[in-house]
């Protein structure tokens, strides 16, 4: 009676199959209100025969309900987990998570890491001592790396030629180049080297003549003096220079009588050629007179000095070095463009960004300006229109320079 009472109190009894990993299988009787945890304990007792000495054994196993393929929850009861009579349960051993490394392990790990540092020279020598030597004298032909600034000048000279050709057929080419010409003119207006003028006037030459002489002789005091002495009896000596006192002259020359329509293009061509020539003439060099004097005082003759300054952009110290050194590049090199069939120039012309830039008249103007005043190149580099072109040229140069 007592037993029955207990059974009623405890609810229905189920018989479940329990299988272990090793293949042992038995029937376990369990009441519906037993928790899964208790059931597991019962199973384990059966399985390990006797009492559970290590309480951890319990947490190291799980029960799986085979039919529904799920892990049973410890805290739920048999009824809650919906177990049925004759169901099959698997008792499976869990794998513990990897224990965090002990302090001793960590320090030995650290040690190992330090030992694993990249090998130093000695270690390498030791490890490679028995190798036979190969290619130690691998010849690396170190080309003389060209300076971008000097090379850029040549590139610019050649690019200008290309740009002029590309722009020559623009419908508004004439206007364009005239404008460019005018812009270059602006800087030039009436600029006379004050110190040079003073030197000449102190010698007793009238100021107007001295100005003219300086202009004609690119501000060279000695050459101007020679000219003044030569022309002292010349009746024309005081006639003003064209384009100076009569600014309209150059402009007036431009609108030539309208040519026959058939040869319109050709006439334009010729006009363009004229404009280009004029622009080119402007590129002529004006040496810094003080530098000239300073360098001449060192014993160089004037022609050399002017060449030196021209090659070195009026930088007195650089010019001095040039005079004392191997004098390269030669002044003749300056006006020469780069070899147009060279891989460098070909690469530049094959670059779409450069080609696109060349269709923009502003690029031509920028090139001209940079030739004349190399110091302005920073300004053009930062210009949104010409900047990308300059960047490409410099990149192509940097890349091919090491070829």
């Amino acid at each position: 009676m007592f037993v029955q009472e207990e059974k009623i109190f405890a609810g229905k009894v189920l018989k479940v199959h329990v299988c272990t990993m090793e293949g042992t299988e038995w029937l376990e009787e369990v009441t519906e209100d037993t928790t899964i945890e208790k059931l597991k304990e019962k199973c384990l007792k059966h399985y390990v025969h006797g009492s559970l000495e290590d309480p951890k054994t319990l947490t190291h196993h799980k029960l799986i309900h085979a039919a529904t393929e799920r892990i049973l929850t410890e805290s739920k009861t048999v009824a809650e987990e919906n177990l049925k009579d004759k169901d099959c349960l698997l008792l499976i051993k869990k794998r513990p998570p990897q224990a965090p490394p002990k302090m001793a392990d960590i320090s030995s790990e650290e040690k190992k890491k330090q030992e694993n540092k990249a090998p130093d020279k000695d270690a390498i020598l030791k490890a490679t001592a028995n190798l036979s030597t190969c290619n130690t004298e691998r010849a690396v032909t170190q080309h003389n790396i060209k300076d971008f600034q000097t090379e850029l000048r040549k590139i610019l000279v050649s690019l200008i030629e290309v740009a002029q050709k590309l722009l020559a057929l623009n419908p508004d080419a004439v206007e364009l180049f005239k404008k460019a010409n005018a812009m270059l003119d602006e800087d030039e207006e009436d600029r006379v080297d004050e110190t040079a003028l003073q030197q000449l006037t102190e010698m007793g030459f009238p100021e107007s003549r001295a100005v003219k002489a300086l202009r004609l002789n690119h501000m060279s005091v000695t050459q101007a003096m020679e000219w003044l002495i030569e022309h002292v009896d010349d009746p024309m000596v005081d006639t003003p220079l064209p384009g100076q006192d009569t600014p309209g002259v150059a402009a007036a020359a431009a609108p030539a009588p309208a040519p026959a329509p058939a040869s319109l293009e050709e006439a334009k061509q010729d006009e363009l050629t004229e404009i280009f020539k004029r622009i080119r003439r402007k590129r002529e060099f004006r040496p810094d007179s003080q530098a000239v004097i300073a360098l001449m005082e060192m014993g160089f003759d004037e022609k050399e000095v002017i060449d030196a300054l021209r090659v070195n952009n009026n930088q007195q110290d650089a010019a001095c070095e040039w005079l004392l050194g191997d004098r390269k590049p030669t002044p003749e090199d300056l006006d020469k463009g780069i070899d147009t069939s060279s891989p460098l120039f070909q690469a530049i012309l094959e670059n779409p960004v450069v080609q696109l830039g060349l269709t923009n008249p502003k690029t031509l103007l920028a090139f001209e300006d940079m030739l004349e005043n190399p110091l302005n190149s920073t300004q053009w580099m930062n210009d949104p229109e010409t900047g990308p072109v300059m960047l490409q040229i410099s990149r192509i140069f940097q890349t091919l320079n090491r070829t």
Binding site: A66, T136, L169
Partner: protein, 762 residues
């Protein structure tokens, strides 16, 4: 970037990097050259996401490079070897360049040791590999066997349709296999090499992903027979491997790699338990899956075959714009244009396959019905998504966790497609709600504290300030009482705000507005006038509470940490409005849609403001370039026609540039086709247009709440204006706004309606 090998003796500095010194050797795929003091042309150009293999053969003394597994040929021979010479992998990087190395801790994507005896620096875990492959073999055997209990023998079967069917014998067998297999599946190398490849091979047969139930079955087994910590680690590694595989696969003509990896991702995310774990793990990383990279090597990506004929506009009016009427087009030109358009269409179809898979992945993550095992996926995603937005919105954000804008653009479009499809599904089920066509974000979201807007500016200033100045209005209109302790706390935070309340009459909103106006993006906006009006409205509303204090029952706002919100907090239940708590009288008492979708929609608007708009503007560059080169080419061709015969020198130069321009345009037009298909397609334009209308409707609804309009986050105005300008300026070359019937009209009528309401207010 110069990558290759160097010795200990190499000294590098700002000027000289790998390849610039005698004993260092490098390849640079950007300049397409190799370097060892001097340089020569070598290899192919590379793009982000390519894999470069650096091979060194010290027996032969040669160095070779491979790009995406294709050998670029021996770059250097006769390199120095012998006592004291040891080579190290080396790289020189420029600003903002980054690279990921694999010395062999993960399987090599292009393992050269198969046929050329090259080994990775770090040896593969050979013993583990053999073990894992053998165990996988056992597993496969179990999968392709069933037990015939009557005959008591094993029968072979098709593993594709395998199921356990609760057989204890099979389960015990599998438990034994997993006892050894599970610990191995926590290791990066083995997950990528053994598991990922096995799963991929299951999908290889083709067909839709749900035709392969085996992957679901396997994942069930994983969760059953592996410990939780093991499954977590294994799934994490699997997802990371898939991400890497997706990201570093080259674009090939049929986008095969991308599709392959996305299919497996979809299959894995179909598994409920795995999906929920993976969303919890990290949604941010998975953003890579929604991106489709743009190929730089047009030819390898198959664009040459897909678009054999190239075309670009050749007629321009005086302002240099494309001329509209095409009647002057010659027959030949028309044929070319049509051929090009057909090519673009073929490309678009291919990309759509990938996009479709990406939307599927998002739809899985937005599933709100999978409540079997805890919180539904959508609510886990929602919280992670908000955190993702927070990280990207905060200026303090670490730049490395910021989502790249090109990913953002793709993500926003997939997200819009996914939420609109869920939105309209919901509409079909409950006909009372509104369709996604009329979607908007109700104003409650902005002031009821249920959605975190981080420290983003509101129209009326900072939230802490608005809570103080508008607390009476909140109580009156929306039954919302703000906890005085909260106000106290926020005033302690910033003293500046206190000063502002001292001068309560001053429309303090205007101060914040003034700051916003100073931004150049506002100034350049064509709708600045509108903005001004909005702003002044906000300021006016701030000062004039219009309705008397009324209903007695008040709700207290409980502010929740972003990551802790549950479905109940968002969707609400009986007697709880969830996300839409504090409905103002002006808002209709009718469900809009599932409330969780509203929050995602709000997030989408925020995303557009974060970086999408900017990126859309950047990508216009390609079409601008096409235009510029097309003009240049046309001019050059005209000049060639005009060139006098005696000027051969000019002719020569002109022909040279003609050739350069034509080549560039061929390349650009194919790239443009890609960009038009992925970024400026008509569908994407409609997405942006939808977003614009969402913003306008949201502004309207918010505006009708009077003073509470001040709570609206500023970015809604930004997005309304920017998306309009994007439609007008960015999408227009490929897709004309006027082409979309009724679109301009409806927009204008909405605009004028808006104006009217604003005027009334004033």
């Amino acid at each position: 970037m110069q990558i290759g090998w160097c010795t200990l003796n190499c000294r590098f500095n700002q000027e000289e990097g790998v390849g610039d010194t005698p004993d260092s050797y490098a390849y640079d795929g950007n300049r397409v050259r190799k370097w060892n003091v001097t340089t020569t042309n070598y290899g192919k150009s590379w793009a982000a996401g390519d894999i470069v293999s650096c091979l060194i053969d010290l027996d032969e003394g040669t160095i070779t490079f491979c790009l995406n597994g294709q050998s670029l040929g021996v770059a250097f021979s006769n390199i120095k070897t012998g006592p004291g010479v040891a080579y190290f992998p080396a790289i020189s990087l420029s600003f903002k360049e980054s690279v990921a190395f694999n010395f062999g801790s993960r399987p090599l994507r292009y393992p050269y040791y198969f046929y050329a005896c090259y080994l990775p620096l770090q040896s593969p875990p050979t013993t583990d590999l053999i073990k894992a492959n053998r165990l996988l073999g056992y597993l496969k055997t179990v999968l392709s066997t069933s037990i015939d209990t009557q005959e008591e023998k094993l029968v072979e079967r098709d593993s594709g349709t395998w199921q356990i069917q609760g057989d204890p014998t099979i389960l015990v067998t599998l438990a034994h296999i997993f006892n050894h297999f599970a610990p191995l599946m926590c290791k990066v190398y083995l997950v990528e090499d053994v598991l990922m490849n096995f799963l991929l091979s299951i999908l290889e047969g083709g067909g839709s992903v749900d035709e392969h139930p085996l992957i679901q079955q396997l994942l069930d087994l994983f969760w059953l027979l592996m410990e939780d910590h093991e499954v977590n680690e294994c799934l994490k590694q699997l997802m990371m491997s898939l991400l890497r595989a997706y990201r570093f696969s080259p674009i090939i003509p049929d986008l095969g790699f991308q599709i392959h990896y996305l299919r497996l991702t979809t299959a894995i995310l179909r598994h409920e338990k795995s999906r929920k774990y993976l969303i919890t793990f990290d949604v941010l990383r998975s953003v890579v899956f929604f991106y489709i990279k743009t190929p730089l090597r047009v030819k390898e990506a198959g664009l040459d075959e897909l678009i054999p004929t190239t075309w670009w506009p050749t007629r321009f009016d005086k302002e240099g714009k494309d001329e509209r009427d095409t009647c002057e087009e010659t027959a030949e030109e028309r044929l070319r244009r049509r051929a090009y358009e057909r090519g673009c269409h073929r490309l678009k179809k291919r990309i759509e396959v990938v996009e479709e898979l990406q939307v599927q992945i998002l739809r899985l993550m937005l599933n709100n019905k999978d409540k079997g095992t805890g919180e539904a996926s959508r609510y886990i995603f929602l919280n992670k998504f908000r955190k993702f937005l927070q990280e990207n919105a905060s200026n303090r954000g670490n730049p490395t966790v910021l989502c790249p804008p090109e990913y953002m653009v793709c993500f926003i479009h997939r997200l819009i497609t996914a939420i609109r499809s869920y939105w309209d599904e919901g509409k079909r089920k409950s006909p009372g709600s509104i369709s996604s066509e009329d979607a908007y974000v109700p104003p409650q979201l902005f002031y009821n504290g249920k959605v975190d807007y981080f420290d983003l500016q509101r129209l009326g200033g900072l939230l802490s300030h608005l809570k103080k100045t508008l607390k009476d209005d909140l109580a009156a209109k929306a039954n919302i009482i703000i906890d005085p302790a909260e106000i106290q706390a926020s005033s302690m935070d910033d003293l500046d705000e206190d000063e502002e309340t001292g001068a309560a009459q001053r429309p303090s909103g205007a101060v914040a507005m003034g700051g916003a106006l100073a931004r150049p993006s506002w100034l350049s906006s064509p709708t600045l006038g509108r903005a001004n009006r909005f702003l002044s409205t906000a300021a006016v509303s701030l000062m004039t509470p219009r309705r008397p204090l009324a209903p007695p029952e008040k709700v207290k706002v409980r502010t929740l940490a972003v990551e802790q919100r549950t479905e109940e907090d968002i969707e609400g239940s009986h007697g709880n409005d969830g996300l839409l708590l504090g409905r103002p009288l002006e808002e209709p008492d009718q469900p809009i849609t599932e409330k969780s979708l509203l929050e995602i929609l709000d997030g989408v608007v925020m995303m557009y403001n974060l970086s999408v708009h900017q990126q859309l503007g950047k990508m216009v560059v390609v079409s601008d370039d096409v235009h510029e080169y097309a003009v240049a080419l046309k001019d050059t061709e005209e000049k060639i026609a005009r060139c006098p015969s005696r000027r051969l020198d000019i002719l020569e130069e002109l022909q040279k540039s003609q050739k350069v321009f034509a080549e560039k345009l061929n390349h650009l037009s194919r790239r443009l086709a890609w960009i038009n298909a992925t970024i400026y397609s008509k569908e994407k334009m409609l997405d942006v247009y939808w977003l614009l209308r969402v913003c306008i409707r949201t502004i309207e609804h918010s505006d009708s709440t009077g003073s509470l309009f001040a709570f609206m986050p500023e970015f809604y105005l930004n997005v309304a204006m920017n998306s309009y300008s994007a439609l007008k300026n960015y999408f227009s070359p490929s897709n004309c706004m006027e082409e979309l019937p009724g679109i301009i009209k409806s927009f204008l009528s909405q605009l004028s309606g808006n104006m009217k309401s604003l005027c009334n207010e004033l």
